[in-house]
Symmetry: C2
Subunit: 207 residues, 2 copies
């Protein structure tokens, strides 16, 4: 319990720090390979077109694959490795905030490690939690992970182009999300092409 409380206090400190710098932060969670990094890649130019500057903290178990992809979009980024810990925590995010040029960032994406269990209990100080799953995980992925959806604010069902080849029923996935979290808006996307990203960004930025 202590670990959670300590993390929560740090998360609240992160939230205050971000607010002081006028930065809105969004936590991207979800299954391994569901499209979290692709979402950042697609949103960066759209944000630019809307006059907003993005930044990112890339969380991964090991390595800097996502960090490198994000760097290539031209935005400030920070790499955070979680190792045996199966989720980002507020302390790692605090580190990231110290190393990012917060005065040059309007919208901060915090990409959590791909994991449908661990991140739920560890708030990071973000304004909203966006849960990204994809049709290729199978259409039972929502039903199997109640806590992840109950703890989230916006849901993204990605890789809709591949649903028929997997045999995934997108309506079932959406129904399961509504059952676990009736308030949670659901967006369907193809993050290879960018389909669905404008409407999704509207929802993310809504206050």
């Amino acid at each position: 319990k202590d670990i959670f409380d300590g993390n929560t206090r740090l998360a609240e400190a992160n939230a205050r720090h971000l607010k002081e710098h006028g930065v809105r932060a969004f936590d991207l969670l979800g299954a391994i390979g569901s499209g979290k990094t692709a979402l950042i890649e697609k949103l960066v130019p759209i944000l630019k077109a809307r006059g907003l500057r993005a930044g990112a903290i890339a969380g991964d178990v090991y390595g800097d694959d996502d960090f490198q992809r994000i760097v290539r979009t031209g935005i400030p980024a920070y790499n955070a490795n979680t190792g045996k810990e199966c989720h980002l925590d507020a302390h790692l995010v605090e580190h990231g905030l110290e190393h990012l040029p917060l005065n040059d960032i309007d919208i901060l994406f915090i990409e959590n490690v791909g994991n449908m269990v661990c991140p739920t209990d560890f708030q990071l100080g973000a304004e909203k939690r966006i849960v990204v799953i994809s049709a290729t995980e199978g259409d039972d992925v929502v039903n199997k992970h109640p806590m992840m959806f109950r703890g989230g604010d916006i849901a993204v069902i990605n890789k809709v182009d591949l649903a028929p080849l997997i045999g995934s029923n997108l309506d079932r996935m959406e129904k399961d999300i509504r059952r676990y979290n009736p308030e949670m808006p659901v967006f369907r996307t193809n993050l290879k092409t960018g389909d669905g990203t404008e409407r999704l960004l509207d929802a993310i930025l809504s206050e």
Copy 2:
């Protein structure tokens, strides 16, 4: 450390229990939706053709989606929910062994929850650990998860049919597996059609 030691002792007890009943057990781990249950579904009839009877323990965070699918193959099965614990452990498996007709089982599949971090440190008492990933997670999935591959015995790269649509380079995935674990045989499969399953089963059953 105590938690690990206690689990290890239980895992060894499970291994002895299985051996006493002439049951060979295999732990299926990997990413969410990579094809672990589909692997069981495909292997059951092949095992039957080879005169071997299968059984399964289906581990999931919540619910019985996989258990129901496995029951439909006609083999004895046990459902185990892990809840906030992000991996099966030897204690849950011990429970499963008590509730399965071990005298009617030759090959026991233990399907772990979809998670690329947590299960690594928790042995279950199985003879081999089979890591199942799929092309739809992106071809950086191996590089990002060194511990999962170093701790495994056989690797399966599934959903090869979808690699081109995701943009996944299967050779890169295989190279990364070889880098982390040179001894680990790698099998490419399409578990929708069953391509690659006979050779994979040969490797699983090899002593």
